[in-house]
């Protein structure tokens, strides 16, 4: 694994969460499907890190794999480090819900229909906080089926407090209600309160606003912003919505067919997209001042997961595809700080001549596995339009 090159102006500390070469596959009748194929990224303290991609690109599976929740999936990783320490499966399950918590996509189905929302939050408080209430299975089952959770218990009071924090009016009463008695937006606030209940330093939010209408979406995103500002939590925001990314994220990773194609600071990604896929995505955002009657879509479809092309998964749809694209991908530094691209156009030995990529001599030595460090400083034009610093 090539180490991340510290780039100029960056004073990055050790990331809060660091994922190295995560791979997740699901066994099926037709063979294994690789949903996540060797992705690496880091999330800094207090940062909102976006993972953006089409449906089925492996965003959610990435989140579930990190938390050890990918049900039938086989998850492998060179390392998943939290606060610099590698977490075993067992350690991850202890951290889950506490230090690292998750907000799910669909609040309608992700809350338990037969439990009051107060109890669903309070149980997290009991399990991860220090409120001195028993969390043994018998006490929990007694609470659930016999006595109910006492309104005067500290965990319940904390739950009410959290409902207030996430902006639910009349929290004492709401805590006693069931999910079906709440609106979609309120349910998602409950999910957020639940994610906060273990005092997390990292929240993974998997499309937290997809199931909500636009006004509620804005409120929920604001809520997430405030969490970061007030509590300094880091957030991994998984979304397919580039507008949401632009408004909320500090850094963003673009995912395609289970691989991270480009990772950059949000401004950099939107101002100087480098990967052809990212460019295509940005072009496909409809603009208000545009009176054309068609949308710019990327031609073609996502590759068949059972029959993935070798090399770059995007090459069949890519305008800039050239001979190198069937070779295994590497990570390359691109313009700006913290900007990584997985595209052979960024290779040292590739030059652009009249808009056509030209491979120069030194390439073949690299493909033999000898020479060349892809991440070293390069010179010369990389691509028309891509500015070099």
């Amino acid at each position: 694994m090539t180490p991340r090159t510290p780039t100029q102006g960056s004073t990055r500390e050790e990331p809060l969460l660091e994922v190295e070469n995560l791979r997740t596959s699901f066994p099926t009748d037709r063979g294994d499907v690789t949903a996540v194929d060797g992705i690496s990224f880091g999330v800094d303290t207090g940062e909102i890190f976006g993972i953006v991609g089409e449906s089925g690109s492996g965003k959610s599976v990435t989140a579930l794999s990190i938390l050890g929740l990918a049900a039938d999936g086989e998850v492998e990783a060179d390392a998943i480090r939290f606060r610099g320490e590698e977490l075993s499966t067992r350690e991850m399950s202890a951290v889950r819900g506490g230090e690292i918590s998750m907000i799910f996509q669909d609040p309608m189905s992700s809350l338990n229909p037969v439990m009051t929302v107060g109890e669903q939050i309070a149980e997290v408080v009991r399990h991860h906080g220090e409120v001195g209430e028993s969390t043994g299975i018998l006490s929990e089952l007694r609470r659930k089926y016999v006595t109910g959770t006492s309104d005067s218990s500290r965990s319940w009071q904390r739950a009410v407090e959290l409902l207030d924090t996430v902006g639910i009016p009349d929290p004492e009463q709401r805590a006693n209600e069931y999910p079906h008695q709440l609106s979609g937006g309120m349910k998602q606030r409950v999910m957020i309160a639940q994610a906060l209940a273990g005092d997390p330093s990292l929240i993974i939010a998997d499309e937290p606003t997809t199931a909500l209408d636009v006004t509620i979406e804005a409120q929920i995103l604001n809520e997430l912003f405030e969490l970061r500002d007030e509590f300094g939590v880091s957030i991994v925001l998984i979304t397919h919505d580039l507008a949401v990314v632009r408004e909320t994220c500090d850094r963003v990773a673009v995912m395609y067919a289970g691989e991270l194609m480009e990772t950059a600071r949000t401004e950099t990604l939107f101002d100087e997209p480098t990967h052809p896929y990212t460019k295509g995505l940005l072009r496909s955002i409809p603009r208000v001042d545009d009176d054309r009657e068609w949308l710019n879509a990327i031609d073609g479809t996502v590759p068949d997961p059972f029959n993935r092309p070798s090399g770059c998964p995007f090459r069949d749809r890519c305008d800039a595809a050239f001979e190198l694209c069937s070779e295994p991908l590497d990570r390359y530094d691109a313009t700006g700080t913290d900007h990584e691209v997985r595209c052979h156009l960024q290779h040292d030995a590739v030059d652009i001549d009249d808009g056509e990529p030209v491979v120069e001599g030194s390439l073949h030595s690299r493909l033999d596995g000898t020479e060349t460090e892809p991440l070293d400083e390069r010179s010369g034009v990389v691509e028309p339009g891509g500015e070099r610093q």
Partner: protein, 319 residues
């Protein structure tokens, strides 16, 4: 709508159901070939005696008069007298209700005690040996009729091993142990088929629940597997199971009738069969009404339980 109003409404529904059942039975028993007076007096009785008895029993009146008179009595709580031994029908029925109720209740307990744990294990360990064993056992239960299971149990535990008495019934008022010994085999015989179906229901219901998003949420909270299963899963899984359990009560009661015959227990079932043989109309009608009453009452209970286990259901719907 409050619980009281809901129950009142359901009781009114139940009364209508029982009235319909009673009416159907009234006409159905009269459609069975065979004259009670002739059956009572024996095949070689002379025609005059039969005619006199028919007159005496009110069988010569038009059907609608018989029906209205019977209905009027029924509303006043009078089930009439047995044409066979002149005893009040209600006393006869209450006299045999205890063994039937005992067998049905214990059978149900046995069924639930087997079905719930086996179904849960089966769903959690699906396609592993635990699942295959539980599934095989449940299919054996489903496939064998209760009376046949009863005969096999009799042969093994009474005839061969002599552990429990083979015949008859002892009231619970004469001691729990003898009572239990007399009804345990019949209860197993009716409980196994019922439990087998219930186990399959539990398995599939639990498997659905295990795939729900809220179960993933529960795991994401860092709760232990057992807590996720029993605190977050069980109640959700029980919702459809309870519905089916109520509907299948009819199967269970039907099983009790046959099993009573096998074990020579004077219960509601045997009384009913004997009464049909001797065309004892009032007793047949009374027994069927009682059985349908039990069935309706149990289903009402199930529905009340259902509303308390599923907060999404309100009593009787709209506000």
């Amino acid at each position: 709508m409050g619980l009281k109003r809901y129950v009142a409404k359901r009781v009114a529904h139940a009364a209508v159901v029982i009235y319909i059942v009673a009416t159907v039975v009234f006409f159905a028993v009269r459609a069975i070939p065979g004259d009670p007076a002739r059956v009572l007096l024996g095949g070689d009785a002379n025609a005059d005696a039969i005619a006199a008895l028919r007159e005496d029993m009110g069988l010569n009146q038009p059907l609608y008069v018989q029906y209205l008179r019977w209905l009027g009595d029924l509303v006043r709580g009078d089930f009439g007298q047995s044409v066979f031994n002149d005893q009040p029908v209600l006393d006869m029925l209450l006299g045999v209700a205890e063994p039937t109720a005992s067998i049905a209740a214990l059978g149900m307990v046995i069924a639930i005690l087997i079905a719930l744990p086996a179904g849960i294990v089966s769903s959690v360990k699906r396609y592993q040996w635990e699942d295959y064993v539980a599934t095989a056992v449940s299919f054996v239960g489903i496939s064998m009729p209760g009376f046949w299971i009863g005969i096999v149990l009799l042969l093994v535990f009474s005839a061969r091993l002599g552990l429990v008495p083979a015949f008859g019934y002892v009231s619970i008022s004469e001691g729990i142990v003898p009572w239990f010994k007399h009804i345990i085999l019949p209860a197993i015989a009716v409980g196994l088929p019922y439990g087998g179906i219930l186990m399959r229901m539990t398995r599939s219901s639990m498997m659905d629940v295990l795939n729900e998003d809220y179960m993933r949420t529960a795991r994401a909270k860092g709760l232990s597997n057992r807590l996720v299963l029993f605190k977050h899963g069980l109640q959700n899984a029980l919702i459809p199971i309870i519905t089916i359990a109520g509907i299948l009560l009819g199967v269970l009661l039907g099983g009790v009738v046959a099993v009573e015959v096998v074990f020579g227990i004077q219960g509601l079932g045997r009384l009913l069969i004997a009464s049909i043989e001797r065309r004892d109309f009032p007793v047949i009608q009374g027994a069927v009404i009682i059985i349908s009453f039990i069935f309706v009452a149990m289903n009402l209970l199930v529905d009340i339980l259902y509303t308390s286990i599923n907060p999404r259901i309100k009593y009787g719907g709209g506000e």
